[in-house]
């Protein structure tokens, strides 16, 4: 295993977290990917570490707010961190609200290759792969 690739994953659904872990294990078996999971906006703000996390994957609907609140918080600290926004259903309104904080991409949930492809893209450009 190489150096740890720390991802901030903000998601309150236990099943989605499990599926993400399994997808990462399946598609990046040789990488040492560590998911730091936050279930709420407050928790995400607490555990986000600009010196540690190299990418953030954020669900739109969170119990105590919106994924956009986390994105806004991250952007205040780091303008360039790659951020993938996820949602069960993406609406134009939520995209418009979030775009001003410049996420890398907004993707509808589904544990197919879409999210993984984004991670892959990032890992390749950062020479993890």
């Amino acid at each position: 295993m190489g150096e740890a690739i720390n991802i901030l994953y903000v998601e309150d659904n236990e099943g989605d977290v499990e599926l993400m872990r399994m997808s990462i294990e399946r598609y990046f078996p040789s990488l040492n990917v560590v998911l730091d999971v936050a279930e709420t906006v407050d928790e995400a703000k607490e555990i986000f570490d600009d010196n540690k996390h190299v990418i953030a994957v954020i669900d739109w609907n969170l119990p105590d707010g919106e994924g956009g609140d986390v994105l806004q918080f991250i952007r205040e600290v780091n303008a360039d961190l790659p951020v993938v926004m996820l949602s069960g259903v993406i609406s134009e309104t939520s995209i418009a609200e979030t775009e001003k904080y410049e996420p890398v991409v907004c993707i509808e949930k589904g544990h197919d290759k879409k999210v993984i492809a984004q991670l892959e893209l990032y890992f390749s450009s950062s020479a993890f792969i």
Binding site: D12, E14, G15, E18, E39, T40, N61, P63, D64, G65, D69
Partner: protein, 245 residues
């Protein structure tokens, strides 16, 4: 009214009736037809998990747990959505009733929660109002339930329910000493299936305040939330002049 206007009104009413029928059919499909496959996922997963539990490793057991919980949650959501829809489609005509009786019923339905939590509840003497008594009982029940539930651990709920006689509307307030609601969630919590807290800390679906809003919409009313120094105050209005009888 001119013949042209009458014809346009009749056409609009016809379209409205069609839309209403379509909406009811849609809700039926969502709540009935979708619940069957969900029930199968839930039931057969439970059967497999119970019958073959010994053969599964921990990871597989956890995955079965997630399948069962997910299907159960989806079924509960469907039931809640169906109930939400019926607040409009199967509503009863308005009548004059004693609001004290309605609140007493709501408190009776919550009696175990009230005694378990050691809550103290103070009440005004409420007026007779016009409305759907069953729905107004549900409204009080949901709001009192929230006041009892969203409390810091170890705190005994202190709730007061009062009313003001305004010119056009009865204004009710339910004040608690609970955890309150963050400023940024004050609108979101009234939406269907939206909550202001984590499921793990406070289990629930996020429908109580959506029911309340829907009921008040039918009673030409409104609901607001104000955070007090300690806890929350939900204030809602019910129009005085409603057609009944």
């Amino acid at each position: 009214m001119s013949a042209k206007l009458e014809s346009e009104l009749a056409k609009a009413n016809q379209e409205l009736a069609l839309l209403k029928a379509e909406y009811e059919e849609f809700v039926y499909i969502i709540s009935h037809d979708l619940s069957a496959p969900l029930r199968q996922v839930q039931s057969f997963s439970e059967i497999i998990a119970n019958t073959h539990n010994g053969n599964f490793d921990d990871k597989t057991k956890r995955h079965f747990g997630l399948i069962i919980r997910g299907a159960t949650q989806a079924s509960q959501m469907l039931k809640a959505m169906s109930y939400y829809s019926r607040l409009n489609t199967r509503a009863k005509p308005f009548a004059l009733f004693d609001c004290n009786m309605s609140i007493a019923k709501a408190l009776d339905n919550l009696s175990s929660l009230i005694s378990d939590s050691g809550a103290s509840i103070t009440l005004d003497d409420f007026p007779e109002i016009i409305g759907d008594e069953e729905q107004i009982t549900i409204l009080f029940q949901q709001l009192i339930h929230n006041a009892l539930t969203y409390q810091k651990a170890g705190t005994k709920p202190i709730i007061s329910i009062s009313f003001t006689n305004n010119v056009d509307a009865w204004q009710f307030s339910i004040k608690d000493n609970g955890i309150g609601v963050p400023e940024n969630l004050r609108e979101k919590i009234f939406k269907v299936l939206r909550r202001g807290v984590s499921d793990k800390k406070y289990p629930g679906l996020g429908m109580g305040l959506a029911y309340a809003s829907k009921i008040l919409q039918r009673h030409r009313g409104s609901i607001n939330l104000v955070n007090s120094v300690e806890g929350a105050i939900f204030t809602f209005k019910i129009a005085k002049e409603l057609p009944y009888g």
